[in-house]
Amino acid sequence: MKKNSLLALLICLFIFAASGCSTENSNSDSEREKMSEKNKKVTMIFSFKTANLDPHTSFIPIRAGITETLLKLNDDSNIEGWLAEKWGTLDNTTWEFIIRDNVTFQDGDKLDAAGVKASIERSIAVNESLGESLKIQSIEADGQNLTITTTGPYPALPSELLNPYTSIVNTAAELEMGQEEFRDSPVGTGPFIVKKFTSNQEVQVVKNGSYWAGEPKINEATIKFNEDANVRALAFQAKEADVVYNLPAEGIEAIEKDKELKVESVPGLRSHFILFNQQSSKVADVKVREALNLLINRKSIADDIMLGHAIPANGPFNSNLPFGSDDAVKKLDVNKAKLLLGEAGYKENADGKMEKEGKALKLELITYNARPELPLIAQLFQSDCAKAGVEIIIKTVENADAHLVANKDWDMSTYSNNTSPRGDGSYFLNTAFTETGALNVGGINLPEMNEVIKELNKTSDLDTRIQLTKDAATIIDKEVLHSYAVYPNIIVGVNDRIIDWVPTAEEYYILTHTMDVK
């Protein structure tokens, strides 16, 4: 009897396991078949997810090739026309755009200036901060001619019009579909049309056969969202995805052993840096900040923490950009740092610590885990500071922005920003260095810097803008307003079957009509 019960239970267990396995096998077989078929389908995995596909609040529609903007960044990070064929201004206030005549929305409606006007108006209504970025007073539409008048001279308008949040959509389609449906299936002008969207999970797109710039090479694409870097790496190695964004640097060695897989490490537009609290008396002296600037081992951060997938920084903007700094990268120099601290009135005490008026130099450094490399940078910095007799107390907080704004007693913080999201430095300079900028949590207010930013804001000539941006970077370096550590690369896994495609620094134009498969 006992034996019978045991046998029955074992059989039950076996049936359960076997039923699972058999379904698994048949399923995975079919999936493998799908993968092996050269059927012009592409699967991508992004680390950034989205709750909806509203192009005016999410970047995914432009990344998935669903929508497009009036202007775009080219491979050299310069602005060029996209839906706008030509554009220009005489006074930096009235801007003329000529909309391409051969563009239709994905539902067949022709794109004209009135459609662009309606779309821009929608974007300002839907997106809380877009109005401030665009500074538009009025828009007029006449055939394919669009005239935008800004509230004052605003040379940065073209740069702001390549922001994905200004994607051009067919607002007439939204009226027909209703807002809810439109937000899950927007109608743009891009090479791909939404087939199915599952919130925070995936979006499936099919090619737009009547795309204005030429028929897309691939028929279908699925873009999945997964926030775990290790799972993304495993999925890439298992060939479940052809393109995978933001692979973990430590997993690359295993990936590169597979000849069908390659890893692209593209210089990004982000900077990791240390910012100083201008209200802190301990870092108020520029000599102290200069000393701390020399205690950042940029090479070690790039090589050891970022495993070679970063470039040591020499200023706020990636040195590969036209407005990036030409200065040499500062090297770790403990002796010079000590000398500078000496000039600031600090002396080395018997314990090897730098002190002034009997008080050792002890600084609080805020860091956060949202970017895992930042706490590691903080630790390396702490260790190098100790060599110069400076004690660093690391404090890890959950929400750095909130902590830095709410508290005034911190001295430094690790920080990370996309410093040139739209091919221009004015966004970062305005938000991080002006008195009212939202990212100016350190309270920087330097008249010399304000003047340069003011000048930049009213200059339209590209060469002069580049020079002014470089001038601002020189002031930042001279006054050590921030200490830039590295520019992290964007690490993208690409299956060998993908051709005619490379990842780009701005991470806007991912699924393109030229992307093809072998």
Partner: protein, 314 residues
């Protein structure tokens, strides 16, 4: 039994009310607000004036009790508000996520019982023999391994090495196996030991011995007499597990791209999306109270002594 239901429903209202005040207060004490996230300050040119205007529009400049009062006023009209981040009504947002969590929970329970029942019963039937030792080792492994690590190892083995299961995503049966097994295995470790302990205790009871002496068949002793009594502690713990499962298994949801309630709550906490956090706490509060009510009601069915005792006291 009806009086218990009435009492518990009253408790539900009180629990939910206290929970809502507690969460609202805690959220307001925590530093930060959703303004920077809503304005996309990491990408967009934002000034202090923009932030101040938005704070005022959202009513964050009002006293906390006024903000709470407004939220409660909405709740009385069954309006949980709108998510700051997605722009969707909180109720719709939660109802979008709930089926995903329910699907995961059902799968996990299925796996859990498929493992823990046979393991627990075999261990109890052969205590301190090799089946019991194997079950003990499995239970130890299940209880010690962190679920995110187990999940990654399973993905490595089944998706990468054997290539028989997909690594992540949802929608197909194959995509259910790894996440449900990852979570179900850890839970099964606890339950198999609970079932074993309950059964061993029952097997030593006089009525079981008497049954055996009278020649009652072993399967009848196990399933009809002993198992029923051994279920009581299992169901009590089950009530607690259900609460946390329905609240969402955050790690598993993130690992396997299952956008359920857990990952919704984590995103909402990071972005300080107050209406979503409040809605989530309310929903999970209701879940926990209702599941525990069901657990209490199940005692009446499983153990007739409870029913008799209650009726006696009435």
């Amino acid at each position: 039994m009806l009086s218990l239901v009435r009492k518990r429903l009253l408790q539900l209202v009180i629990v939910v009310f206290i929970l809502s005040i507690f969460t609202f207060g805690l959220m307001k004490l925590a530093p930060g607000d959703p303004v920077m996230s809503i304005l996309n300050a990491d990408e967009m040119m934002v000034t202090e004036a923009n932030q101040a205007n938005l704070r005022s529009d959202l009513g964050f400049d009002q006293p906390v009790y006024v903000q709470y009062g407004k939220w409660m006023h909405g709740l009385l009209k069954l309006d949980l508000g709108t998510s700051y981040m997605s722009g969707k009504p909180v109720w719709n947002e939660m109802m979008e996520r709930l089926p995903i969590t329910l699907q995961l929970t059902t799968g996990v329970l299925l796996v859990m019982f498929s493992i823990s029942l046979p393991l627990g019963i075999i261990s109890a039937r052969y205590p301190r023999k090799w089946p019991d030792q194997i079950s003990r080792i499995l239970a130890l492994i299940g209880a010690s391994i962190p679920s995110f690590w187990l999940g990654l190892m399973l993905i490595y083995l089944f998706a990468l090495k054997l290539q028989i299961l997909p690594s992540n995503g949802m929608g197909s049966f194959a995509q259910m196996i790894l996440p449900t097994f990852t979570l179900g295995f850890s839970l099964a470790a606890v339950y198999s030991r609970l079932i074993r302990a309950g059964l061993i205790e029952c097997f030593s009871k006089d009525y079981i011995q008497a049954g055996r002496a009278r020649g009652v068949k072993e399967w009848r002793i196990l399933w009809v007499h002993a198992f029923r009594a051994a279920l009581l502690p299992v169901i009590t713990v089950f009530g607690l597990s259900m609460g946390s499962l329905l609240g969402g298994a955050v790690v598993i949801e993130i690992l396997f791209s299952w956008p359920g309630l857990g990952s919704m709550a984590v995103d909402a906490i990071f972005n300080r999306d107050y209406p979503v956090i409040q809605g989530y706490v309310l929903l999970t509060g209701v879940f926990v109270v209702v599941v525990n009510l069901l657990v209490d009601l199940s005692y009446y069915l499983i153990d007739p002594r409870i029913k008799q005792g209650k009726e006696g006291s009435n």
